[in-house]
Symmetry: C2
Subunit: 530 residues, 2 copies
Amino acid sequence: MAWESEGGGRRGRRDGLREGRRESRRGGRQAETRDRPARDIDYRHLHNPFPPMRVYSDDQVAHIHDTALRVLEELGMKVLLPKAREFFKAAGAEVDESSAMVRIDRALVAEALRTAPSEIPVIAGTPERSYTLGGDRVVFGSVAGAPHASDTDRGKRPGTLSDFRDLTRLCQSFDVIHFLGPVVEPQDIDTATRHLETGRIALFDSDKLAFVFARGTPQARDCFEMIKLARGLPNDEALRRAVYCQTVINTNSPLTLDSPMANGIIDFAEMGQLLIITPFCLSGAMAPITISGALTQQHAEALAAITLSQIVRPGSPVMYGSFSSNVDMKSGSPAFGTPEHVKTSFGAGQLARHIDLPWRSAAGTASNIADAQATYETSASLWAAVMSGSDLILHGAGWLEGGLTASYEKFIIDIEMLQGFAEMFAPVPASEDDLGFSAMAEVGPGGHYFAAEHTMSRYQTAFYEPVVSDWRNFGQWTEAGAPTATERANTIWKRVLEEFEPPTLDIARKDAVNDFVERRIREGGALPES
Amino acid sequence: MAWESEGGGRRGRRDGLREGRRESRRGGRQAETRDRPARDIDYRHLHNPFPPMRVYSDDQVAHIHDTALRVLEELGMKVLLPKAREFFKAAGAEVDESSAMVRIDRALVAEALRTAPSEIPVIAGTPERSYTLGGDRVVFGSVAGAPHASDTDRGKRPGTLSDFRDLTRLCQSFDVIHFLGPVVEPQDIDTATRHLETGRIALFDSDKLAFVFARGTPQARDCFEMIKLARGLPNDEALRRAVYCQTVINTNSPLTLDSPMANGIIDFAEMGQLLIITPFCLSGAMAPITISGALTQQHAEALAAITLSQIVRPGSPVMYGSFSSNVDMKSGSPAFGTPEHVKTSFGAGQLARHIDLPWRSAAGTASNIADAQATYETSASLWAAVMSGSDLILHGAGWLEGGLTASYEKFIIDIEMLQGFAEMFAPVPASEDDLGFSAMAEVGPGGHYFAAEHTMSRYQTAFYEPVVSDWRNFGQWTEAGAPTATERANTIWKRVLEEFEPPTLDIARKDAVNDFVERRIREGGALPES
């Protein structure tokens, strides 16, 4: 008699498929393993074959776009940096110096959208890490900018340079993380030299696309110098020819662009480096309580910043970002991975496609610990990001507590989800042989496929092998100490860090970066600007 | 200066929105709460507005369908029940009595697909619980058929009638669960009277669509009698006029239909009750190791069973079910919520639409505990079910350990995810007022929306209020004892059970059911058939 829960009872059934202990793949970290063929999925280059979801009709999208243009024309954007206001003024925007308000005509926005590129090639430390943003490509990034770090051994504490190094190494160790973020704030390092110390780690311990904070021109210039030295670029002109790093620009919602962010737009546009413009519109707090209102405001703010980037340097690479969710109206606390967050991502993707820019979304959770809540909120926001056609998904691994904490265990758990998407994107082979008629003829009613030729020729590479998931039956799992996923993740990140090997970097370039960093530290570095 | 992780720092910001303590809605359990307006989303009737995902081209779908027909024509299906073979033979199928093999011509399958209905109305205990399967409608069900129950107080143990009652009451308590399943096996009740005891609880403690196990004609007849008494149906003819209960038919993969399941098809088709035909094809074990091969076999097996139902009684209600995933090739353990499971669901949806039948999918996890793994596996399989256009999603709440255990805490955690989908399905209002231009004008740059009129008129019903999610900041959460989601879920199911009130059932009908059950128990009940 068959009933579907009986499947569980079949656990432990074996058919001698495993000859000797195979090394775990540790989730596709390496392209090959020691004693079996590699699976044919390249986590470094992902294409999302699924159509993006919609929550608006085309007319509604046009209405939101038009209303955002009205916001910029009639209400305007407060721009705190005089130099940025000068750029706007020179381009024809109406600037009120006493209030710092800038009113932007829709023709100026349209011109900016005409010059902003729809596809953006980026250059990483090694060619196989480079990619082009736009189209059906998807790239994932880790937690970024968390002031705290946490793991289950040491608990929650202020981030340190050691945490920055370890989390950067975790990012480097998994192919499904495509670019670096500023994983955690190393609060043990002086703010004047923090960008030098973290920049060096990012360039030495990873060959993935680098991140540079927009914290004032002097720090940005330092970071650009380090990137030029590490990538062998002789001068600014060479840097300007391609994207070698990226930054995130958050508007100060509602409708304000503060000075470091405006400065960042100018610095990065002038140097041709990638700007990821991301209003942070929490419905009910810094944005209207309606999803459509939050998106309208987000769109207006993003358009203002995108326009500035194109005024500074037409054609400079810029992404449309959304990190809009809602707050708990009882407490004002931000929430992530909510149904509102999901629908906002779907709508934001429609707006990004409306203006034909590559777009960035994000995962998130408000949970304080790497538990079931952290997982369902992160999962929902990741699914929303993927199903809304995002080109770049930030905070995809390790983001906890509304972004206040970078969690080592959650990083590993989230990697499992990201690799699941990478696998989901791969085509399903459907040749005559894949349909398995001959295998069914061989096995027959009531038999099993463990020893069938169709199985034997495929079993080593047929399925994704998980990083964290434990599929042992209850008895085996209990005997092994009944470890939770979070406990297993703790073991995994430690092993990955133990086995870490940095990518190859030319020794002369390495020396040049070291010399530069040491000199700038002796000179006192550069304070962040506010 | 703005950076997106700062959002977390805004926690605890309040603006006096909450006047007095509001009762938690406990996740939409009730249509209204004591002191504030209800949100305008009816969890009892869900329509999925999103297009289903595809992994195959139309040609590939046709190829799989054609190959499945070849399997039935050339290889055949083993049908263990003589009476079922007689039905097939009378309809023109080629039957070999010595091997019990039935070879089914594609014309016979085509005729069955012509008579099987595309939409299936079902009648629950109260009109607002009734619905029609098919189209864009989605219904969710809970864990079903688990031999064990578990919660964090009592641990894992064999299921009891008390567990059956409590889990049925949890199903009744949340509108997002649309029909009943046989939540857990009450192993403390004799198998000859178990159907009577559980059937009575299902009819007394819930007004949702009932489930009846296909465990032989005598038990099914008993259950049909109880349903007739509870629903006020005078005779079999009245029962036959509409769907008042459903059963799941699992084929015995590969390519076998065992006797109780074949008997179930005959009993339910003759009585016009709903058959959910669900092959249980684990790639690499009971089905070919390829996704396309597992789906081809699933399709062949489902078509055979669907055909039998239509031979017995043309037009009898039948669903196309898929519960195909993969096994761990190292141990043979079944896995759920894997990338392969996700893609199999997408493909299965395409096959269901190809034959124009309402279709059933399922969530699942192999985790042994309600942890992060249980959550990401369940979330992935739920998202796959939803994004593949499922009409009915089984095992959506509380399914643990590959279906061997019904978990109280996981039930509550999963309810949060199901309610998230219900919210995601609701349209995003996009009127002029929703876009919030006037609110932005009112608040201005640098302000906040907490006290804006746009906010004040909406805040009570703007957002989904979670069941389990804890959005307090780290300090508040730590002071409260740092409860995990699983620990909070433990508190929640207890409170829901404490507050449980059964639905109204006519006292005469109730007495009639009681009299029937007591009489049949005195008579010794009916043993399940195998």
